[in-house]
Symmetry: C2
Subunit: 207 residues, 2 copies
DNA sequence: GCAAACTGAATGAATAGTTATTCATTTGTA
DNA sequence: TACAAATGAATAACTATTCATTCAGTTTGC
């Protein structure tokens, strides 16, 4: 661990604590993550979370927001990149979904830790609800354009978006649960296989 | 609630407590489920869980085993039913995956509550690991036979099994998270849509 | 036929252990 | 010296587990 200067900008400390929280949730689960774990993982003292986040609950919420923002921002950068064709945007979207940053096992563990509690804690859901909608809208519009451009008359863009999204959720779960012999590149190939069934002229030869 | 006779066979009490545990996990999450919650939901006294399960952890494990067994037994009954054709078995498999019993929101919440903790508790994983393998093997073999029977030369049965399985995991997550305007029949239609891309002569017209 | 003793399931008050939160004190810096 | 950030011992709240007691049904002895 790096040494901790006595004093740091609040933003740095908050990020440091969020990073430690991600590791603790991955290691001990949401229920098993204690303030003592988090602060000692960060190499700081017990009271510091309450100083920077007030409560444990708020730390958890900020942790979820952190990984949510990372995901949303990554996809926005692709969707609003004028230099990419529609086909390239879709490929970039899939590549991002199965990139190192997103399929990091600690972060996957955090996602599913929160999904497992959403029914009981509507707050968790509300953090993601609106941007999930936005991502779906954007992805659907890409499929829509590709349908026109490629003359895929029988494709249903809404259906393809729902199916692709569920598929990638399921593949992430596999990546989290399956211990070995299966990595993000394999998962990406499965996702591409599905897109190739819908847009054979665009994605059949992509690895 | 029904009145509780003072004394009951152990098996009945255990099942009664497991049912209550499922409801509590769905309502309060794994971390928020206390012995007091479970026993009061079951209409019994605080000490009874320790009497029948020894510890809270063992109650949770038996609860996971209960819903796992229910799922595995349902699929086994289909796979080993000699009266069904391969096509009928696959359709029955999908119908079961999106049946009332399996897509019950309380039970889905329990599944994902445990998935969210598996990385930290290998025990949870080990309960499911072997039968997940078995289910995959069986389903792959069905796809394999259908490939031959239907002359689907370019289908990869292993890939289709992985893809279908991930897809249904993701659709279950959607069913758990999405509050309204989307039900198990819709999810089933998405799964069927995928199978139709692989076996168009068998599943294109199935709802 | 009847009550007294026995049995084991069920109860819930008490206990022991854990953990989030507080805040008086310490420490480095300006 | 003054100040803000950080510390960690102490506190308060919560919760799993224990176990002496209660209770209803069954058996035994007369």
């Amino acid at each position: 661990m790096s040494e901790n200067p006595r004093s740091m900008p609040a933003k740095t400390r908050r990020r440091q604590l969020i990073k430690a929280t991600i590791k603790c949730i991955a290691k001990n689960g949401l229920s098993g993550t204690t303030m003592a774990d988090v602060t000692s993982k960060a190499g700081l003292s017990l009271g510091i979370v309450n100083l920077h986040f007030e409560t444990k609950e708020k730390l958890l919420i900020e942790t979820l927001r952190f990984i949510s923002d990372e995901y949303r921002n990554g996809l926005d950068k692709i969707f609003f990149n004028d230099k990419l064709s529609v086909e390239e945007k879709i490929i970039a979207h899939v590549s991002f979904d199965f990139s190192r940053a997103i399929t990091d096992r600690d972060k996957l563990a955090v996602w599913f830790a929160f999904w497992g509690e959403t029914k009981s804690r509507p707050t968790y859901m509300s953090i993601c609800a609106d941007y999930i909608d936005e991502i779906a809208k954007n992805l659907t519009s890409l499929f829509s354009i590709l349908k026109k451009e490629g003359n895929y008359t029988s494709v249903d863009p809404d259906l393809v978006c729902i199916c692709y999204t569920a598929l990638s959720d399921g593949l992430w779960l596999d990546l989290l649960l399956t211990p070995k012999g299966w990595d993000a590149d394999d998962a990406k190939a499965v996702a591409m296989h599905y897109l190739a069934t819908q847009f054979p002229n665009n994605f059949s030869h992509i690895r």
